[in-house]
């Protein structure tokens, strides 16, 4: 289990982004972190993956305090992280990254299987360089695939996986998340605003203004969230009937 205790983090300018955040991410479940932009969701994901260091508080993985661990150690301990903005490389190709993630050479068949999960026709992509020749959507799907290929994963963190992905590929991705949830005992932590991703979640945490304002099962949280959204769309006195 991934446990976050009283985590706080500020920007270099002193602006407080996360304030005493505590959260438990259950094993083998899909937890979605949602909330308004600028609320601290991506910062929390970066802190979990070790890209940022908290000012105070701790992160525990299966009871072990990993707060002081660097990115590499966390990755080797089973934490995967899909960037919101995919990183591009001149010279490294799709096979390179997937094999690094899997920590072994992969057969074409295995690469095809992973790429298929994110809606890419595999043979066209195996040897594609991950550079500017890829569209934003292609790069994003490959970014997600690098995390799906991860060896011995315990917690997989996806930062807005829906961003930049077309509808058809998004459906594939939803199926991939559902399959992952059903077949493997991995904790999935997804930062998202997307209703369909919220719809397949087991748990939902709402982070706003640097604090966890709601946490519970999907059934406990989702209805209220959608209600809030509708209320925003139809402000008082402007009911569209």
């Amino acid at each position: 289990m991934l446990k976050i205790e009283n985590l706080s983090w500020s920007l270099g300018t002193g602006e407080s982004i996360l304030k005493n955040v505590s959260l438990e991410i259950p094993d083998g479940k899909l937890t979605v972190i949602t909330g308004p932009n600028g609320g601290g969701k991506t910062s929390l994901a970066k802190l979990i993956a070790g890209l940022e260091t908290p000012e105070s508080g701790s992160i525990l993985l299966d009871g072990e305090d990993i707060t002081g661990w660097d990115i590499t150690t966390r990755a080797r301990s089973g934490i995967g992280y899909a960037f919101q903005q995919p990183v591009r490389f001149k010279g490294l190709n799709v096979r390179d990254l997937l094999e690094l993630s899997a920590q072994k050479p992969l057969e074409d068949r295995e690469i095809c299987e992973v790429l298929g999960k994110v809606g890419l026709c595999a043979n066209e992509y195996i040897d594609r360089t991950i550079d500017a020749s890829l569209s934003g959507g292609e790069a994003k799907r490959i970014e997600i695939a690098t995390v799906l290929a991860k060896k011995d994963a315990k917690v997989l963190v996806f930062d807005e996986p829906e961003a930049g992905i077309d509808l058809w590929s998004f459906s594939n991705l939803i199926e991939a998340f559902e399959r992952l949830k059903a077949t493997e005992n991995k904790s999935l932590l997804i930062i998202s605003h997307q209703e369909r991703i919220l719809g397949i979640s087991d748990y939902i945490a709402v982070i706003a203004d640097g604090e966890v304002t709601k946490f519970g099962t999907k059934d406990e949280i989702l209805g209220g969230l959608l209600g809030d959204e509708k209320a925003e769309r139809c402000p008082l006195g402007k009911d569209a009937n």
């Binding site: 993956a49 890209l51 660097d70 990115i71 590499t72 490389f89 190709n93 990254l97 690094l100 920590q103």
Partner: protein, 307 residues
């Protein structure tokens, strides 16, 4: 009989596994250490100068000719002139690596001057790897000169890489392309410590619909310094593209000076250049896959030079 160092260098620069299949000439410490012609590829001594004349018959397909050179004794300054005549419609691979080694404190140098004359429709993949090995204060130098003349609709692809260990190199490549001829150059250079590398390209696109694509990727580490000069002259309706990408590490320095000359209204010429250190986000991405910072840097550089 080849010494162990030469065999090791041959393995690195020309995939030598104890023998070559087909035509070859091994040059070791300024002497011929083995030669074989094939039915379609004739290798002879050059008259009036050290070196070879390699004649590839018209229509030769699928053959590879190996022309590696090694210098493994300090104090040798090896100069060689190799002329390649590639007949009409031939389609071959030429492998011409070079390894220099010194550990006795004396300098070594190999200076290979290669001329390629491609007849109409000829197609050549030219592969060249350079490496320097050995300890001690002796400098390891490789200064290749390549002169290219391409006939109508011919195609030459040069895939060259300086793997490392060469203290100083000055690479000069010039080409004159006829109608419909295409020249593709992929150059990769790695320098470290106090090494120096200079590379000059001068390509004249003289024939209608000729084209050149020059891509140079370099990594300058330590206190090393690299200079890149390229000039593409478009003298007819043609396309020319040159790209210089460099990664800097430590205190490495790179000077890139591209030049384009359009002497025809229908010449279409492009240059791209990018110099900088490895992007931090690239390192971080690979670390999230489980690599250490050092492993990530190595992987990025290997990929960059491979690509």
């Amino acid at each position: 009989m080849l010494d162990k160092t030469t065999e090791e260098l041959l393995g690195i620069v020309s995939d030598w596994t104890g023998k070559f299949n087909g035509a070859y000439n091994i040059r070791s410490n300024g002497q011929c250490a083995g030669r074989q012609s094939s039915e379609n590829i004739l290798i002879e001594n050059k008259e009036g100068a050290p070196g070879l004349v390699i004649r590839i018959k018209p229509g030769t397909k699928g053959e590879t000719v190996y022309i590696p050179a090694c210098v493994t004794q300090g104090g040798i300054d090896d100069l060689v002139y190799n002329d390649f005549y590639v007949g009409e419609g031939a389609d071959v691979i030429i492998v011409a690596g070079c390894g220099v080694h010194t550990s006795d404190g004396h300098d070594v140098r190999h200076n290979g001057i290669h001329r390629f004359i491609l007849d109409k429709g000829a197609k050549v993949l030219y592969k060249e790897k350079h490496i320097g090995t050995g300890a001690g204060s002796g400098a390891k130098r490789i200064d290749p000169v390549t002169e290219i003349e391409q006939g109508e609709d011919s195609y030459l692809e040069m895939d060259t890489i300086q793997i490392g260990g060469v203290d100083s190199t000055y690479r000069k490549t010039s080409g004159k392309l006829g109608k419909g001829a295409k020249l593709v150059i992929k150059e990769r250079i790695m320098t470290d410590k106090d090494q120096r590398a200079q590379t000059d390209f001068a390509v004249e696109l003289n024939g209608e619909d000729s084209g050149a694509d020059i891509v140079s990727r370099s990594v300058a580490k330590g206190n090393s310094y690299q200079e890149y000069h390229s000039k593409i002259s478009g003298n007819a309706r043609c396309t020319g593209h040159s790209e210089c990408d460099a990664i800097l590490a430590d205190n490495g320095k790179v000077n890139a000076a591209p030049e384009l000359y359009a002497g025809d209204l229908d010449a279409s010429l492009i240059h791209e250049a990018a110099i900088g250190k490895i992007a931090g986000e690239q390192i971080i991405k690979l670390r999230t896959l489980g690599l250490t910072e050092e492993e990530a840097e190595r992987k990025i550089i290997d990929g960059f030079l491979r690509g």
